[in-house]
């Protein structure tokens, strides 16, 4: 589904990604772990196409297409969803409005008819129920005055509704208590299928108790320095990143 080849990227003048190689097949969940400043978030932004994150060399193929040629919204409409580490506030825009606009934008991209307000509400209520989210959140402006946990739940709600093919989660676990963490993990697990894939960026292995990855990679100083299975995450938890960087 996703093939990253020798990817180099800069932010400003600084090279952050220094040759990433990573292949994710449909049905797989990969976790990327690493110390602060290793380039984890940069990787997610580069994949989502954020302005200011410049690819200097390398390729990224998504479903066989050159991903880097596409605008952020084209990537989103083709099934890439990024759950933000710091979800953004949009004052005055009700969450329900935001969700419906996004949902219909993606339907339209696929040549499907747009759903009306009633139909949409029914759909979204199913999802909020599944994720144990209060409907009241839908009326509030997007992320405005949301607690850290609410913001992350809102991300998971959006993801559940948009049903992406490739889920990118950028430190979704940060700022979550254990109950919220379980709900978020549950949202991801519900989407897991042989057709979908996921890339989970996290600092701690805690989240991986709930979303069990097929592969774990360690990112340090812009490169993947070690790959393994779930046990690698446990090893990191025990020994810390320092031991690994030193090795």
């Amino acid at each position: 589904m996703l093939e990253i080849k020798d990817l180099h990227a800069t932010v400003g003048d600084k090279e952050i990604l220094k040759g990433i190689n990573l292949t994710i097949k449909a049905g797989e969940i990969h976790a990327v772990m690493g110390p602060n400043g290793a380039g984890k978030s940069t990787l997610s932004y580069v994949l989502a196409g954020r302005e200011g994150y410049e690819v200097t060399s390398g390729d990224v193929l998504y479903k066989g297409e050159n991903l880097l040629d596409l605008s952020p919204d084209e990537r989103a409409c083709r099934g890439i969803f990024l759950a933000f580490q710091y979800p953004v506030e949009i004052p005055g825009v009700a969450s329900a409005t935001f969700l419906k606009t996004a949902y219909n934008a993606q339907r339209k991209f696929r040549g499907e008819s747009e759903v009306d307000a009633m139909e949409f509400l029914k759909l979204v209520r199913e999802k909020t129920k599944e994720l144990d989210i209060k409907d009241d959140m839908l009326k509030r402006a997007v992320n405005v005055g949301f607690s850290g946990g609410e913001k992350k739940r809102n991300e998971v709600l959006q993801m559940s509704l948009l049903e992406p093919d490739l889920m990118l989660l950028d430190e979704t676990d940060s700022g979550l208590d254990i109950d919220a963490l379980k709900i978020a993990a549950d949202g991801v697990n519900r989407l897991r299928s042989p057709e979908r894939a996921g890339l989970i960026i996290t600092h701690y292995q805690r989240l991986l108790d709930y979303i069990v990855p097929d592969f774990v990679h360690v990112l340090a100083d812009g490169k993947i320095v070690k790959s393994g299975d779930k046990s690698l995450a446990l090893e990191l938890e025990e020994k810390g990143y320092a031991a690994l960087s030193a090795a």
Binding site: A48, G49, R50, E51, G52, S71, P72, D73, R75, A76, C77, F81, L82, F84, P87, V88, E89, I90, P91, G92, V93, T97, F98, K100, T101, A102, N104, A105, Q106, K108, F109, E114, A141, Q158, L162
Partner: protein
């Protein structure tokens, strides 16, 4: 809300950037160019006006000659040559049409293009976009059609072109015209008083709640023509009316002058809700062409518990100079001003309000949302004055500015004058930018850059958009997106 998407579709479907930029080849009856006493007499004669009105016009004209153009506003433009403007242009018509069937089909076509159904049967049959709204259409300087008059007459509501009101209800016009905005008020009000050619008149008798929205659509069509309309609305005791106005003009290289006067009179326990969606041609990206929108709007709450509410969405015009004001004379009277002013490209807007508190326990609310994009300059200018007798008067002002890009400007100029010891005046102001982060967040969910911008800006304007009558709110949301076209990227 599919608005953001619809907006973009609408933008894309329009090959010209300004949707209303067509001009129609309608034969018009035009006065010689320039301004003189003869022109004032010519206009008055064309309208077959009584002598008192001609006298009033001439007084206004003579007074205008002694005045100088105001220069205090934060707007810049070359001096206007008032002798290079046509002051009268009417769609040519042999006799006044008795019904819409006799109206020039070309003209009906124009209104169709604007999405305004003039035929009542169409409105009633539910033609797309038709609302249950009585419409007065003013084309260049002359009112061409007013719908639903019979139904309104049953309730005693008078809604007609002001030139007709002069003929049929002279006592009302003579009593109230110029009573809120005297011809000595300011340069453009004086000019308007001298040369106004038409506009809407509405009278709501005591105790009547107007059964439908009243609406006037203004359109400037002819080249080099100024539009000087005058609107007069009187709400007698315990009455209510909601009035909407919409404005468009063709794309032309030269600047055109629009200097209107609107007077509202609200008696005891009455309420007027006045909404504007102003979409005059703003000029091109380089600032060529566009309407100079120099308008005086004022409401007088004459009785106790009177209420007036101005809601405006100002997206068009090269230059906007406009301060819809409230004179709160009656005790407990209420004034509200809700404004969205968008300036993109080279547009300049200097707009705001005046709240003059005279009576006891009067209260006013100002919510202003200014959006600047491109190289535009957007100024909020507002006065809150608490008179000596305005015991316990209250004002609350919220003034928010949103910047898109780094070449535009937002300015806030509040004036507060307080002579009342017990009055409360609150002023809040914020300035923010549409962040790259917000745009990216929306795009990451599948919205295009333009859709994202439209969504974010509509969110910023929400409190004001909610104040518009429903039919207008949808239109206004679309317009917000359209007017910001080209402001991203």
């Amino acid at each position: 809300m599919a608005i953001a998407r619809e907006t973009v579709e609408q933008v894309n479907s329009v090959s010209d950037k300004y949707k209303y930029g067509f001009f129609s080849d309608i034969e018009s009856d035009t006065a010689p160019i320039g301004l003189s006493e003869d022109i004032v007499r010519f206009i008055s004669a064309k309208k077959e006006e009584p002598s008192w009105l001609l006298e009033w016009r001439l007084k206004a004209y003579r007074h205008w000659l002694t005045m100088i153009e105001p220069e205090w506003a934060n707007v810049h433009y070359p001096k206007i040559d008032f002798q290079d403007i046509y002051y009268y242009s009417a769609p040519k018509q042999k006799d006044k049409p008795k019904s819409l069937d006799e109206v020039d089909p070309e003209l009906l076509e124009v209104y169709k293009k604007l999405g305004i159904p003039l035929k009542e049967q169409e409105v009633l049959a539910g033609v797309e976009g038709a609302h249950n709204v009585a419409v007065d259409a003013v084309f260049d300087s002359v009112s061409v059609a007013t719908t639903f008059r019979e139904r309104l007459e049953k309730e005693g509501v008078i809604f007609c072109p002001i030139s007709e009101a002069v003929r049929d209800h002279p006592e009302l016009v003579q009593k109230f015209m110029g009573s809120v905005v005297p011809y000595t008020d300011n340069y453009y009000a004086a000019l308007n008083s001298a040369v106004f050619t038409d506009g809407s008149f509405c009278y709501i008798p005591k105790g009547v709640r107007c059964p439908m929205e009243l609406s006037t659509y203004f359109r400037i069509n002819a080249a080099q023509t100024g539009q000087f309309e005058r609107t007069l609305i009187i709400a007698e005791e315990e009455s209510y009316v909601s009035y909407l106005e919409g404005c468009t003009a063709p794309m032309r290289d030269e600047n055109q002058l629009h200097a209107a006067v609107v007077e509202l009179i609200i008696m005891k326990d009455a309420e007027i809700k006045y909404s504007t969606v102003q979409n005059w041609y703003p000029g091109d990206e380089n600032g060529v062409g566009g309407i100079y929108n120099f308008v005086t709007k004022r409401a007088a709450c004459r009785g106790d518990n009177a209420k007036v509410s101005w809601t405006q969405v100002e997206t068009g015009s090269a230059i906007t100079w406009k301060y819809p004001s409230c004179i709160l004379q009656g005790d407990n009277s209420v004034g509200e001003f809700y404004s969205i002013a968008i300036a993109n490209n080279m547009q300049q807007a200097d707009t705001g309000t005046k709240m003059i508190h005279l009576g006891k326990n009067t209260s006013s609310t100002i919510i202003s949302k200014g959006i600047s994009a491109g190289k535009a300059q957007n100024t909020y200018r507002g006065l809150v004055r608490m008179g000596r007798k305005a015991a316990n008067a209250r004002n609350h002002t919220v003034c928010d500015s949103l910047l898109i890009g780094d070449k535009c400007g937002a300015h806030t100029v509040p004036y507060i004058e307080n002579q009342s010891r017990t009055a409360t005046v609150e002023h809040e102001a914020t300035t923010s930018k549409v962040s790259e982060e917000q745009l990216f967040y929306c795009q990451q969910r599948g919205l295009s850059e333009e859709e994202s911008m439209a969504l974010i800006v509509n969110g910023f304007c929400k409190e004001v958009l909610q104040k518009l009558p429903m039919e207008f709110a949808v239109e206004a949301q679309k317009l917000v997106g359209i007017s910001l076209e080209g402001s991203v990227g």
